[in-house]
Amino acid sequence: MLETVNTFLAARGIYCLVFILFFLAVYGMITCKNYMKKMMCMNVMQVAVILFFLCFAQKRGGVIPILDGVTEAASGYLNPIPHALMLTAIVVSLGTTGVALALLMRMTEEYGSVEEDDLLSGKARKKKEESADEADEAEAEKEAEKEETADVTGKDPDET
């Protein structure tokens, strides 16, 4: 039994680690209340996806994919496609993180805090003169969020 586990882990252990990391990050994004923490979990998630893609590029005994005239056979070099794709994914994650940070800065300026509870209630506090639907709009959001995380149908629960 232990030996089968070993071979499984050797062959596909990294995949499981990547998925665990991915869903850990998604859990972090949903549950922690501070928007800055949510943003960090988002980064962890993006890194997890990038790692997942790179798992396909590995070849036992492969050389980095730069033609050095020594190894001739194609199977000698690592698979270049995932690396090329993940360069784009890294730049995209940089872009989204940059925009997220800018939004966070504006949020701290406008609302004074990045805690989700202050933000939602903050909206109500600052907008006392606004109509009452402000408060139940926050409830509607919470209840909508509860509702969708409630039904379990093989997909990721959404985050608010």
Binding site: F22, V26, M29, Y35, K38, M39, M42, M45, Q46, A48, V49, F52, F53, F56, I81, P82, L85, T88, A89, V92, G95, T96, V99, A100, L103, L104, R106, M107, E110, Y111, L119, K123, S131, D133, D136, E137, A140, E141, A144, E145, E147, E148, D151, T153, G154, K155, D156, P157, D158, E159, T160
Partner: protein
Amino acid sequence: MRHDREVLLIMIMNHLPVLAVVVPLSAALLSLLLSRINKNLGKAVVILSLVFAFLDAVGLTAQVLQAEGHLIRYAMGNWDAPIGIEFYVDPINALLACFITFIAMCASIYSLSFLKDREWLQSGGYYTLIALLTVGLVGMTLTGDVFNLYVYLEISSLSCYGLIALGGKRSIPAAFRYLLIGTIGASFYLLGIGLMYAMTGSLNMADMGELLQSQMDNPLMYLVCASLIGAFGIKMAQFPFHAWQPDAYAYSHPGASPLISGAMSKVPALAMIRFFFFIFGVQNLVIVDATRLIGILGALGMIFGSVMALNQTDFRRMLAYSSVAQLGYIALGIGIGNLYGVTGSYLHILNHLFMKGGLFFAIGAIQYRFGIVNINQFGQLHKKMPFTCFTITMGALAMVGIPPTGGFFSKWYLMMGAMDKHLYIYMAVLVLSSLLNAIYFLRVLEKIFIAPEARLADRFDKEARRDGAAAKKHFLEVPAVMLVPIVVFGIGIVAMGIFNSQIVEFVAQTALKGVF
């Protein structure tokens, strides 16, 4: 001189697919520089590029309808299919590209009045984001490469976050929340691509389609379908993943909200149709379960969206929740999964683009002139803004599905599809959802036509007081730049109803014939 013009024309004609995307992209990248040189030059170039993109898309649709096999493949960098990236143009996505570029063109003209008194960085930057959003959306429709679709998805999402965040104080948290959930969607899409790449080794949709047919019983397909449903569900703001949508649509920049609400949620729907029907093929068991799940989510979304929209007083939030319901129609069409069902959902993609675009143009104009969005203050609005109320009425009737407008005919095809597969529950849900729509949309008409006059701070009076004699006389209800898109979309809603049979016959049936 005539010779070069001819050469140029030939060059344009046989590079239509790529020009539809590259011309707005180049205009976007240069718009900052041009608006630094002269404030209006940047805006003009972006609007001209969007006009060109629209004409290009129309030419592309005409070309693809005559092309043999109704298909045009354009290999980037002359590397053919599985090696390089290619555009895979068939009648369905060419026509959607036309509609997207049309609404983008109208939105760019419409937001001229919102950006009149801004200095060059803001107006140039705004127009760059509009152009890049259009590039992303048109690219996502036309591309034939799976990873290329991810990059277009990211470009359109990023510029969408920017456009929403420009919408003032309350749009910042909305944009942030949309950014987080959108990234979850994009990451799930990357997971889906990774799994598909692991199974087939190629990134080209057509090539991947053939390779997948033999591996349909591989349990990985369940994971692929789950992640794709998750990814496109989030981007479409379908029922369980819609929490970001009401704030994002409601508080986004009024000039860009028609484009965001009209086109942004439709393109992932078409991508979902492309994946589940064109690449995977609906006869495999796994896919039948997946489409049935989408159908169920769609049905729930229709009811949930309409119920939530009932108790909204902010007209934009009500429209946002009604978008969740209308997306439910599209998902229902995919869920039904036969020729009529998918025709209905495709037709509803086009109809909803017109309906929602028109309604958001109208509410943007009301916000511009009176600065109000609460429907209780809409009393006797038709006396002051007749054309805007005409579009709101047409949009409302189309949403409810009254025959002369387009909304009815997509509901007709959905019901035909449901009837062929004896899914009576879906027909009941369709009827219930149209009645719920009727309640809250006709209530808006009631508030406009019946409610007593509401005292509103009129922008024109403020200008008159401020400029005194210099204020120019307003004989139109809103500046002409805003009025033209509103009237065009009002008429477009009815035109969609009358010309829907041409759309269905030439576009949907020809392209979908091969699939079912």
